[in-house]
Symmetry: D2
Subunit: 208 residues, 4 copies
């Protein structure tokens, strides 16, 4: 089993990105081959990078991870939409308003990960977890849509989806924020539980 | 330096109490003598127990710790009020409505802990922390008021106050809750930072 | 100019539906011909009813209105997704889990209403208003998706979209709810502002 | 029966004050004599003004009304505390930090209004209403504490308390706020219900 995890570079003037912190600490049993990729927090920059890497690495699934300030739980995103509408600039200053991700693309793509199975596994590990119907209209949604679009265009069997993690306590303790947070070790624990349940799902599917 | 920490038994049908979990893991440098006491989650049951213990232990300060479901941060309570108004029964079935804690007592007591100093220390440790102006009207406020009342009645120089900690991720991952949480190890880290800053404050005060 | 407004019957054991209350009080200048339709709160029940009515009424636009408990503002929905996942039964006891609205349908449809123009008009009228990227996975999303799907299948030029309104103060004052609310007269004022801005948009488009 | 209502001038750079708007529209049956007073939003400025007015007007009760941004309901304040701790300047630039309202005063005063009776009346009128255990540490709490302190010092039988109302929809519709709101007509309806229940309570008490 081969998995590709991605996370974004810090953005919005922050020193760290909670998702990147978590991804850097995920460890899995040796029968799972895990690669991780750090993506620039820039509209349109990540998908080709991921697909290019995937062409040589040949993962069974791609899990993109991002940080969602203000959410109290790990969020498994159900759908990515063909919309860029940024309320702040990305890391190179782009701030698209009401633009499509792919001008000729469909309105949306559903995650192809087994989300409810993964959620049950995360909750069983004692980590708060919810499904989400919106990955927003910033770079996270942009990447999720783009990757699912490229995979669909290639009729690829590779599963893919996006997971948001809360800010870290360190981020939440910065002045004047009153937001929920999740310790990196717990985000890691949740992601590992999600990954293991995904791998069991893939095993069953492949042998079925 | 001697400190007394207290926490409540689990209540409201829960298996654990986040504050008790945290208190059980707090550790401090050897020059601080720390005792901990577990208090029944029952109106009126804890204060005499604490004061009785304190008469032999002779702490410099008493920090009572409780669990506050729904809060995202460690909350340093500023004030306890002379009111019992329970929206659910305590652990022996008491559910007082609009009763005073102490019939002849004053309306409220302020915490005598150096709260802003402690908050700064908790935040510096990277743990979200806020001041709070209400410890509610359940057993937490009841205990805080009672202990401050008994100390005041005895003209005791012992400092005392109450700190609320969020639920743990395990508690928040139980079905249908969408509440913020804090890992026990982070609650512990925050409490330890608060305790150390309190001890430095006491040192300065005593030598001043 | 002809507009069709729809609202749902009360659901979830409630006596009223905030959206239905509002729709019943909307009034517009006489140059706009307005029809309203009340839809059963049942998966799959409303779209054909709306399209059938629309075939004779021939509206320029269809605005579906629903109630969103817990939201503080009028929400203009950007997108409907091909998913039914109900956390409670509809008014005839259906509670589909992870079912598509239309088995062969695309993942989603964007609202075809000029949402940012409408939002600006609602805000100018002094009524809180936001865009939303999720109409949920209950009957509201189901209806929005179905109507947009049927219109798309017919290559219809009719614009269509969905607007959520908050609960009324009466609903919010029922015991134990601590949710934001909006007076029906304000929901009406907001909807009227949205309708007028839509009609001006259609006028410009038609004459352009 | 004579009642004195007070409200603050707009503050924090706002054009209006939701409480002042409401108070200006309250009307009561002719057997209730109502006077209203507008108070500068300045620490320490209002209580003497109110007491001076009350010495000639001789009200049976004083209800102070203020605006609480972010709250979804009418809040009946249970208690005022002897603390000024401002996170923004008042209308003349005072921003006290950790100061007492009255240096020698007690820690707190409970409202002397029949709050649960009043809450039931407001809810019966279909207006969301809650009890609150904190009026904050800004000018609202300052006024409530000061008035209760002066009345207590004079052994006055006049009842007094503080009620917070949410922002208006107009205030909430200003850019970038996502806060609950309440229409002025509903705040008025709620306040009128509270006033009538208070007057019935006073009638029963006086004749009892």
């Amino acid at each position: 089993m081969k998995l590709l995890l991605t996370a974004f570079e810090p953005f919005g003037g922050e020193q760290i990105n909670a998702a990147l912190e978590a991804v850097n600490h995920v460890s899995v049993p040796s029968e799972i081959e895990l690669s991780t990729l750090t993506i620039p927090t820039v509209f349109g920059a990540g998908a080709e990078m991921i697909l290019s890497f995937a062409r040589s690495f040949r993962p069974d699934a791609i899990i993109m991870i991002g940080q969602a300030s203000g959410r109290p739980s790990i969020s498994l995103e159900r759908i990515a939409i063909n919309l860029r509408d940024a309320s702040m600039p990305d890391n190179v200053g782009n701030q698209p308003v009401d633009q499509p991700v792919v001008p000729s693309g469909p309105a949306a793509y559903f995650s192809t990960l087994p989300l409810k199975t993964m959620r049950a596994a995360v909750l069983s590990a004692g980590i708060p977890c919810d499904l989400s119907c919106s990955a927003g209209t910033f770079v996270c949604n942009d990447l999720m849509y783009s990757v699912l679009h490229l995979l669909a265009a290639a009729s690829s069997p590779v599963l893919a989806g996006f997971i948001h993690v809360p800010c870290t306590p360190e981020q939440a303790s910065l002045s004047n924020r009153k937001i929920p947070s999740m310790q990196t070790s717990d985000a890691v624990k949740g992601l590992e539980a999600a990954i293991l349940s995904l791998c069991r799902f893939l095993d069953r599917t492949n042998s079925g």
